[in-house]
């Protein structure tokens, strides 16, 4: 039954191989791309249920026992993240059916898409530091090609920045892993955690910890390492941006939560304060810079940054409720953020531009689109009964319970500014009259959006509502995950088999 853990890795590889064989049939590539992402979602649900019922799943690849071989581990946190990766993979692959042009599809869009999911899935279930580095690279190389696919000038400009900063971040990660190995003599996460607990000189790994913090901070786009994100995320087609916005930064947050709960925060030091400060600044600066933008994709890109701050803040509280809130918030944000980008893509398809100043009157012509926008947008801003309200509520409660009033106050204030930005998109894009001088742009646009664009957005919108209405059900998963993260002995025993 542990072999189930191989499936999230085998399925994307299979998808890539199959789509290479379909040389001439574009339809076959599309169908296999969607089929395999759906299969990943189903497998992720099975793994989630199994981990919830039976506890942590461990697979020693090739039967090499830990800490010598590569270990795949799925605890609740990994399983939850796998599920959201599957959900976003499936919905975005359907969305891409209606949005990607034929040229990009011919250049193996779905192959790259699945390789990216392979990297993301691998990063979520690996139990080895160096293996995590390799999965990060798999994910990065796929994302490099996806961001440049099409080769437009703007894309290349964005890609140069994206590639450079991500390469630097990977090298810092590798340097940190190397130094950690030099100090501790192992790279298996469970083994590391155990050795660090019993090592009196373990504060010597603080240099590695800081390097890990910067490396993951760049990937997650926390303050002050976020400048690459708004410089590059608005350049590729919006299906690619939606996928990146949903998953890539969250892999950085995942790695940060995993490493710092398992290794570094229990050793003491300034980490909790560091997370609270960077979290607060990330929230504030992300939301302020978003408020000054007028391109839908840029507004939403800056909001990714601001939302990352909430998750980092939850980690900084370091209470079960805080971590559970961070995990819930990650799930909510993955769904709602991807959905806002999807709706933005539909708007640009109808209007031929992302520039809010040349858009208007959508509420009149396309009322259903207005509804589709308002659900994820209000979820992001935190309006009840949508998912974002409960995400913020849990984090704020955790903050007050642990007496971090200042940063919690900032998070409430940031929620208000988020609402302002969302209302700005609403006012400009949906409510005001179509500006007259923008008529020539409209000629490029299409009359209506297809089912393939609307369907995934509806699925994600329903999920946002569901996460809000059935909050107890979802919170239960997150709380289990948080308890496992704060009691690493179960994780260590499961991997090392004691």
């Amino acid at each position: 039954m542990e072999n189930l853990l191989m499936l999230p890795l085998v399925l994307p590889v299979l998808a890539a191989i199959v789509s290479l064989f379909a040389k001439n049939s574009l339809n076959f590539r599309k169908a296999s791309g969607v089929f395999f992402t759906l299969a990943q979602l189903v497998v992720a649900v099975v793994i989630l249920v199994k981990v919830y019922r039976d506890g942590i799943l461990v697979l020693h690849v090739g039967s090499w026992p830990a800490p010598f071989g590569i270990t795949l581990v799925a605890d609740m946190f990994s399983a939850i993240m796998l599920f959201f990766a599957g959900l976003i993979g499936f919905t975005v692959s359907v969305y891409a059916l209606g949005l990607m042009d034929e040229r990009r599809l011919k250049f193996h869009f779905y192959l790259l898409f699945n390789i990216l999911l392979l990297g993301v899935n691998g990063a979520f279930i690996t139990g080895d530091v160096f293996n995590l580095y390799v999965w990060f690279e798999v994910m990065l190389i796929a994302s490099f090609v996806l961001i440049t696919l099409g080769g437009e000038r703007k894309q290349l400009e964005g890609a140069v920045k994206y590639v450079t900063i991500n390469m630097v971040s990977s090298m810092l990660f590798l340097a940190a892993a190397g130094l950690l190995y030099g100090k501790m003599g192992t790279l298996n996460m469970a083994d590391l955690a155990m050795k660090l607990q019993n090592d009196p000189s373990s504060n010597l790994v603080a240099s590695s910890a800081m390097l890990f913090f910067i490396a993951f901070g760049i990937k997650a786009a926390v303050f002050p390492f976020f400048f690459w994100l708004p410089a590059s995320y608005h350049t590729p087609p919006v299906a690619v941006t939606a996928l990146f916005a949903g998953l890539l930064t969250k892999v950085g947050v995942y790695a940060m939560i995993r490493f710092f709960t398992l290794f570094f925060i229990p050793l003491g030091g300034i980490w909790k304060e560091l997370f609270l400060i960077t979290g607060g600044l990330t929230m504030l600066i992300g939301v302020f810079t978003a408020a000054s933008q007028y391109d839908i994709r840029r507004i939403l890109s800056f909001h990714i940054i601001s939302q990352i701050g909430y998750m980092i803040m939850g980690l900084g509280f370091f209470t079960p409720l805080g971590i559970a809130g961070a995990i819930y918030y990650m799930g909510h944000n993955i769904v709602a953020k991807t959905n806002t980008f999807m709706v933005g893509g539909m708007v640009s398809k109808l209007k031929g531009t992302f520039e809010l100043k040349s858009i208007g009157g959508l509420y009149k012509t396309k009322p259903y689109l207005a509804l589709l926008f308002i659900i994820p947008a209000f979820a992001l801003a935190g309006v009840p009964p949508l998912s974002g309200f409960f995400g913020k509520f849990i984090l704020v409660k955790a903050g007050f319970d642990s007496h971090h009033f200042f940063v919690t106050g900032i998070s409430l204030f940031v929620g208000l500014i988020t609402l302002f930005s969302m209302i700005k998109i609403w006012n400009e894009g949906f409510w005001k009259k179509q500006p007259e001088e923008a008529d020539e742009v409209v000629n490029y646009a299409e009359k209506k959006v297809g089912f393939a664009l609307v369907f995934p957005s509806v699925v994600l919108a329903l999920f946002s509502i569901g996460m809000g209405v059935a909050v107890g059900f979802f919170f239960d998963f997150c709380m289990t995950a948080a308890q496992q993260l704060l009691e690493p002995s179960a994780y260590i025993n499961a991997v090392l088999g004691k």
Partner: protein, 113 residues
Amino acid sequence: MEIILAIVIGVLYAAGVYLLLRRSIVKLILGLIFFSHATNLLVFLAGSLSKVSPPFVQEGQKVAQSTVADPLPQALVLTSLVIGFGITAFALVLIYRFYQSSGTVDFDQLKED
């Protein structure tokens, strides 16, 4: 030996950062290459350099008779070298395409549009 290698790594990192901060995109890529070599050497050095026998077990024995070198850092470096090679190749193609489409190698010549 360790001290020499440590100095080399430091110089490589410094040169890499300096080149990364230049405006020319070609120097940027060179900086990234220096950076990755410095990192690989750092991982190699972190595994400790010592004059011991290679990690082989003699025929008929179950454990090595003398102290052996740790083979893992070399395996890690090998993996990261291959990854770095692939990414560098991609980055080179990227800057060439970037040069073709923008007609400049200087970041300051780029204008927001």
